[in-house]
Amino acid sequence: MEGFAALYIFMLAAFAGYEVISRVPVILHTPLMSGSNFVHGVVLIGAMVALGHADPDDPVQLVIGFFAVFLGAANAAGGYIVTERMLAMFKSGGRKEGGAK
């Protein structure tokens, strides 16, 4: 990717992230922390590419690549489940506690 295009993407992503997040109310800050933790779990696809392009005959590359994918998958899966569990607990007074009867 051309350098300046990437620079623009960096800048705009930072703006967008900052603006979007600054609307999240304090009540949701813990799930937000966990949710953004989940979002960077997309590193998984980077790890898959890295392992997928590693030299199949070089065990060092394979081991590190395997490690990368393993960690990335854990980040994504763990981040998701924790966030989802937290958010599932938030209920409004409209529904009865206990959620779906």
């Binding site: 992503a13 997309v42 890295a50 199949p56 690549g65 998958a73 994504a76 763990g78 937290m86 007074g93």
Partner: protein
């Protein structure tokens, strides 16, 4: 090319959905929907990656995903709600580790990179490794594996030179086209050591700020490696998280009235600001569970202010049980949450939500502060700093200027705590000595339990 186009398009869509998912978090009504969308986007992005042309080692990839995802899913599913903070820490660390490992693969492959790419690769590797090691330490502290804050002699000098060495080696390694495996190893060993040394001296109570900061770090690392791999979806997701993590960290530090610099480079040493500040006059007056029960039972309005003590005791279920009993008896009960009550932003909200408290009974500082004079009882459960009136009055106090919940303006204040323990900031609380304040000693779980018994008895 066409298959590549398909993959790129899927990544693009995933990036959009991630942003929309985070946007959905601006309301508790849509938040859950948002994370579910983001989850589908993640699955989609993962699946299409297999269609990327020239992808080898597919078996290994699948195995790693199943193992890593499986372990994390299982542990995330079974962990107790109160252990959530350390889970967030460890998953975050894993993301950082993955980013660092991507850089390691690139370095070992020795593919040539231009200057900017090499620099970002090295930076991403360092930041990712620091996040990994730091998060592991944070996990160990919160889980109680590592009990005390370990401060090296001349800590800040050690930090400085270690950081210098790491950056030096890192840039050298990533600029050279043919770095040896040993050099790469040294680089990562240094970076991991740096992460460990940075977080070790920080006390467990400061951990949430550290976790949030490391979360931003991982985001940045992912963004930088996204640049190296030429994958804009990684850049976008990473940088969005980097920005949001930075914002969250700032908000926390501001609400705690402690600059981030101080947290990292001058951690609280325990017996913090002891002795400073004005002397507080008066005595602490004890109250029995029966007294507390009757005062609340015959009140019109009770405001419950939970704090870190409720989290430690895991008393949220009992508290909600009590609140419901009082409501049945015709008392209006609401919850007042300070933005930094507990040890994570929104900590109390998550716990109360877990207990089933509907979020429209929960009010934050600005919403409720004006209502305290109309409350008959303010019930403080394991909160301390966030209700300390010294923050309003005593300029020499370390928490001076922090906005607090004005519980002292309620008609009666009842404080549930175990003894004379201070809060996070280690300072005395003037509230406990006020005329309208009564102490109900005991661990929150058991004290509230007794109150419940008495309320029931009063009911007949």
């Amino acid at each position: 090319m066409s298959s590549n186009w398909f993959v790129s398009m899927a990544y693009f869509i995933a990036a959009v959905v991630f942003i929309l998912g985070l946007k959905a978090m601006s309301s508790p009504v849509t938040a859950r929907r948002g994370i579910v969308w983001a989850g589908f986007a993640m699955i989609g992005a993962t699946v299409v990656t297999f269609f990327m042309p020239g992808l080898h080692n597919v078996g290994l990839i699948v195995t790693a995903i199943v193992l890593g995802g499986g372990v994390a899913w299982w542990s995330g599913k079974t962990v107790k709600m109160t252990d959530m903070p350390q889970m967030v820490a460890i998953y975050n660390g894993m993301g950082g580790g993955a980013a660092a490992a991507i850089a390691a693969v690139e370095l070992v492959r020795g593919a040539p990179h231009d200057g900017v790419t090499a620099t970002l690769m090295a930076l991403g590797a360092i930041i990712g490794a620091v996040a990994f090691a730091g998060s592991c330490v944070a996990f160990a502290k919160l889980q109680g594996i590592m009990k005390k804050a370990i401060r090296l002699p001349a800590q800040n000098n050690v930090n400085f030179f270690l950081a210098l060495a790491t950056f030096g080696v890192g840039l050298t390694v990533s600029y050279s086209t043919q770095a040896s495996g040993f050099e790469v190893f040294i680089f990562f060993a240094l970076a991991l050591a740096l992460g460990t040394v940075l977080v070790m001296p920080i006390g467990g109570a400061d951990m949430p700020v550290v976790i949030s900061l490391l979360n931003a770090f991982t985001g940045l690392a992912v963004g930088f490696e996204g640049f190296v791999l030429g994958n804009p979806a990684l850049i976008v997701a990473g940088i969005v998280v980097g920005a949001s993590g930075t914002l969250l960290t700032q908000l926390m530090a501001k609400a705690m009235n402690r600059p981030i610099r101080n947290i990292i480079f001058a951690p609280l040493t325990g017996a913090a600001a002891e002795g400073e500040g004005e002397a507080i006059e008066g005595t602490m007056k004890e109250f029995s569970a029966l007294d507390a029960a009757s005062v609340m039972r015959y009140a019109n309005k009770v405001v419950i202010v939970p704090g870190y003590g409720m989290a430690v005791a895991g008393a949220q279920h009992k508290v909600w049980e009590m609140a419901q009993l009082l409501e049945e008896a015709g008392v209006e009960v609401v919850f007042a949450i300070h933005p930094v009550a507990g040890r994570m932003p929104g900590h109390m909200n998550v716990l109360l939500a877990e207990a089933g408290v509907p979020y429209d009974k929960i009010f934050d500082l600005e919403e409720i502060n004006a209502d305290f004079p109309q409350a008959d009882v303010a019930l403080v459960i394991g909160a301390n700093d966030v209700v300390n009136p010294v923050a309003r009055t005593d300029k020499s106090s370390p928490i001076y200027g922090m906005p607090i919940l004005n519980v002292d303006m309620a008609q009666n204040v009842i404080v549930v705590k175990r003894g004379k323990g201070t809060g996070y900031s280690g300072i005395e609380n003037a509230l406990f000595y006020k005329d309208n304040c009564r102490m109900l000693y005991g661990s929150a779980q058991q004290a509230i339990g007794e109150v419940i018994t008495h309320v029931k008895a009063l009911e007949g």
